[in-house]
Structure formats: structure tokens, C-alpha cells
Symmetry: C2
Subunit: 297 residues, 2 copies
DNA sequence: ATCCTATGATCAGCTTTTCTTACCATTAGG
DNA sequence: CCTAATGGTAAGAAAAGCTGATCATAGGAT
């Protein structure tokens, strides 16, 4: 029973009043004058009450005067919304929630994000970091839209795009007997005090797996781990990217005998789509990491 | 460049979400399912971004989730406006500003207005009162939409519809020599102390005009005038409707020798139209006063 | 597995709406 | 009186919107 107001005719009314006539309004609206006339007439009979006086001039009726500010208000709201949505789609506004594994977050993201906000100055990014499983859970649960991580469990809810290889090596202090070696095989590690960490499971399923059984400690926190390494308490294995190169006394020696690599890549919801801002981030991450050493071609 | 959002497709999106599917939404909107599909698709490509996931089910994209509350808001605003305008047109809301000459305001309007608000309980009325000229000025200036008054100057900006005749008579105190007469001719008034008042100009242009020259006072305020009459200071002429019948000691004697009448009627802006509420009032006044004694057929 | 039924998507064809072109009526000014 | 504005009107074209039939897909029941 309530009349359905369309935006265009309301705009006509405003234009007529603002421009002071049907012709001028038509010009402003890029329409012909009859179109304006008819739009108004249609609106009037939809409301059941004329908005303009009949006699020649474009003068509002009292009802028209009553309507005018309300029309203006509705159109303002409409335009505000339209602009806002448009900004989202054009990536001139928006927010990306993403997550990354700590090594990526600390070694790659600073540069990547600063490049990103150069390219999209009006987008906002929240970066969470945590273990690969934590990242996976955030993406799967929809708490973030994108993750940069290594995948070890396929999940058909999620899709993973490999972007970089990251080879595992041994990390020890510079005065360790192995410290000067250019590369190592797993046999060389037998009998060493091996500290497990969150990335150690990369060795599972390789010839080096027996080493894990010997390891005395299992330290998941990176700060604690490096502290133990610097203290010379033991050695560990880490992907190259996770190797904290800012510690002068630590050495990274590639493990070649089983050559172990993890694949880092972009994790995103499988079929679901991304917000416009996240789409921009997705493309940007792919482009950036592909242009990197160790990129997967 | 900004997309023009139409209300209907937005309503579709809401319906799909609320009803949980395209079919159910179509049912609710009294449309067929393809209509809903196409409306959504049209909207999506207008925005340049999908709102629903592609795979079978009716699930929102992140962008869709972003849009949803905003769509809802715009539609709410639209409906509020639509309802408000409709109420105005249906006379379920609105305001009438009107004016009347004091005699009408005090003798006819109380009853008329109380009947009016019975018929239109949701309309509000403001009644101004003042001299016929004052009423005319208010209507001409657009400060009120309707006036009930006697017209003495034609004005093609205004249109006057005569509704009642009101005959002029002599008013005096009950102990005045003329008080017992059933009717009078103007000669009977010669030599009397005649008090002019705002309605005296009705005598202009009649045989009784010479009387005006003799009059000693000119009192425009009705309270003062009656006070003087009650005090027996003089007599005056008044239209019957203006005769203050609540004063027991005053008598009204019809003047028949020139029979002088004023025409009371409805004054409204000539070509301009009225607000819906004022239209209701106009019709109501005409109907009410026509059903009155002294009505002009 | 297979059928069954639900979902949405698609397409041709129709109806409605909306616009344009061309013309008319009225009015104000030169 | 003529001209140049105004807005209104009518017929046809274009666009939008809707329907009805049909299709592809997925989930559930047998």
C-alpha cells in the first residue's frame, strides 16, 4: 500500500527546484525536458498529490514544499551510501585482516606492508601472527581473510597457493664444531644436543626424522629458542627464513642430505570470496612474493 | 560515475538473507525466482562486486556482509519517508494554519473545529483571528492557507467562496428607546449616538452611509465596544453573527431599510494549491457552513 | 550407487516503464 | 503582434523488469 519511491524522480524534483525550471533541470540531469515532466507526473500520481503548481511556472505546492527537504535527505543518504560502497570496490577504503607465520611476519611483511600502503594509501591492514596452525584456524574461521603460512594439512575449505620455497638448515653458535661447515647431512647431527621447535615437524617423514627422538628440549617460543642457542646449550633446525640473522653469533648451515623445504604461500578461504580490500592484498602478496628470491615459479 | 542504487534490488538482497534463499525471497516479494536472481545480478554488476557467493547456496560475500546493514538502513529511511508522506496525503497527519474574522472564530469555529478533529483526529489546526483585512493579508502572504472572512476587495491572487449571509442590525442596551422595535430603518438612527466599529464600513455605499459621518466614536476592539454599549453610551451596528449574545442587556434589532448584508465565506489562495490537511479543512468548512442557517445556497 | 528434490542460473519473449522526438498551449517581453 | 521562453502532450523507440520453461548442480534418501 505504501508507495515505492525511486531515487531518480526525487532527483528530478530537487533539480527543478534548484535550477528553477524543468528545462534547466533536464539539462543538469542529461535528460530531455519531457522526461523530467513525466517523471514528476508519475511521482505525483504515485503519491496521490501534486508537487508542483499547474500554472506554467515551476512552483512547489505546499505539499511539495513539505516533501522537498525530505526528498533531499533521502537522496543525501543514498549518495553517501553509494559513495561509500564505491570507495570499497575501488579500494579507496576498506580493511584487510590477515595473519602470517612469525618468520614471514617479521622478515617479509614489514617491507611488503609498507609497499602495500604506498600503493593503496586508504586501506587499513591488521596483521596477526602465530603458528602455521593458528594461521590456518584464523583463515578457516573467517577471523582473517588471508594467511601467509606453510601448509601441512590439506583442507578443501581452504585454498593454498605456494609462493616461496624455504629450505631447512641447522642453527648453532659460531663456536660450535659444525659452525664452519658449508652444508650438512643429517648423520652429522647425531649425538648433538638438538632443540626441537615449532618447525621441527618439517623433518617428519624424512631420513632425518630419527633425530627428533633424540632431542632434549622442545621450545616453541622464538625468543627462548634463540636465547638457548646463543647460550650454546644446543643446536636446532630452522627454515632459512626463520633464522634470526640479527644474532651475530648464530650460524645457519643448510641441511642437504635430506634436503628439507617448506613451501610458504597464501592461504585463503576456498570458495568464499574476499572483500575488495582483501582482493587487493591477495594480488599484491602474490605479485610481491613471486618477485622474491626462492619464489616458486 | 557513482552507481545509482534502486530500492527494489536492495529489498531483494534483504529478503534473500532474511528468508534464507532466492525462492523464499521471491515468494515474500511476490515475484518469481528469476526476477530476484536478475535483480541481484544487475545490482552486483552495477556495484562491480558480487554480493552472494556463486556456489549454489545463498551466502553473502564479505562485501555482501559489509553492504547488508547499509542496505537495510537506506531501506528503513525510505520506508519511513514513504509512510510519512502517505500519512500526509491520507490526512492521518498534518497541520492546517487558518484564520477567521473574530465573530466567526468565536461563534462558529469552536463547534466546527471540534467536529473537525472528530473527523480527522490526527490533524492539527492553528486558528488565528483578526480583522477581515488581517485575514486577507495572512492568506495572501501564505502565512495561513485558509481564511473565513467577508471579502470586500477582489483579488485575483485569492479566491473567495461565499458561504453565509450575515445581516446587519442595530445593537443597543435593553433600555434604549429603540430596544423594543422589531426592525429599524436608517432614519430611526438619526440623532442617535452612533459608535463606529470595524464592521461599519458595510454601510458604505448604502442609504445609511450618512449615519457614519455623524458617529462620535470609532471603536475597533470588540471588548471595548461592548463595554460602551453596556454602559449605554451609544448604539452601534453589527452583523448578526458579531452580536455578542452573551450580554443580556444588549439587543439586536435588524436593520431593514437598507437591508445590509455581508457575505462570509472561505478565502483561499487563488491558483496555488493547498496542503492535504488544508484541503480536508476546506472541504469540511464548506460542508459545515453550507449546512448552517443563513447559508448561501 | 541412483534417484529425487531442492537450490540458483539462464534464456526467449512479453509487459511495463522510461526516454526521445516532434508538436502544442500559454505566457512574458520587445 | 511577434518572438522566445515556459511546460504539457502524444507516438514511437529503447530499456528495464518480469515470467515460464528449462538447465546444471548438490545434498539426501533409498
Amino acid at each position: 500500500m505504501l508507495p515505492e519511491l525511486k531515487i531518480q524522480p526525487l532527483r528530478c524534483v530537487l533539480a527543478i527546484v534548484d535550477e528553477g525550471g524543468f528545462h534547466a533541470a533536464a539539462r543538469q540531469l542529461h535528460r530531455t525536458q519531457p522526461a523530467v515532466s513525466m517523471a514528476v507526473r508519475e511521482l505525483e500520481q504515485r503519491l496521490g498529490e501534486p508537487l508542483f503548481e499547474k500554472g506554467g511556472k515551476a512552483a512547489l505546492t505546499p505539499f511539495g514544499r513539505y516533501c522537498l527537504p525530505r526528498f533531499r535527505e533521502l537522496i543525501t543518504q543514498h549518495d553517501r551510501l553509494s559513495r561509500e560502497l564505491w570507495a570499497q570496490v575501488q579500494k579507496q577504503a576498506g580493511h584487510v585482516d590477515m595473519a602470517a607465520v612469525p618468520s614471514v611476519a617479521s622478515r617479509l611483511m614489514p617491507r611488503l606492508l609498507s609497499d602495500f600502503i604506498l600503493r593503496y594509501p586508504d586501506l587499513r591492514v591488521s596483521l596477526h601472527d602465530g603458528s602455521a596452525d593458528f594461521v590456518r584456524r584464523l583463515v578457516a574461521g573467517g577471523e582473517v581473510e588471508l594467511g601467509i603460512t606453510s601448509l601441512w594439512r590439506e583442507d578443501d575449505e581452504l585454498s593454498f597457493m605456494p609462493l616461496m620455497r624455504d629450505d631447512v638448515g641447522v642453527v648453532c653458535r659460531d663456536d660450535h664444531p659444525l659452525a664452519e661447515r658449508a652444508e650438512l647431512g643429517w648423520e652429522a647431527l647425531q649425538g648433538q644436543v638438538l632443540i626441537r621447535n615449532g618447525t621441527s615437524r618439517l623433518l617428519e617423514g624424512t631420513e632425518a626424522e630419527p633425530l627428533l627422538a633424540e632431542s632434549a628440549f622442545d621450545i616453541s617460543n622464538m625468543i627462548s629458542l634463540t636465547a638457548m642457542l646463543v647460550a650454546g646449550i644446543g643446536i636446532t633446525t630452522l627454515p632459512r627464513l626463520a633464522f634470526p640473522q640479527e644474532y651475530e653469533r648464530l650460524r645457519f648451515i643448510p641441511l642437504v642430505d635430506p634436503m628439507v623445504e617448506r613451501e610458504l604461500g597464501l592461504l585463503r578461504p576456498g570458495k568464499r570470496s574476499l572483500s575488495p580490500a582483501a582482493q587487493a592484498m591477495e594480488a599484491f602478496v602474490i605479485e610481491s612474493l613471486r618477485a622474491q628470491a626462492f619464489a616458486i615459479p
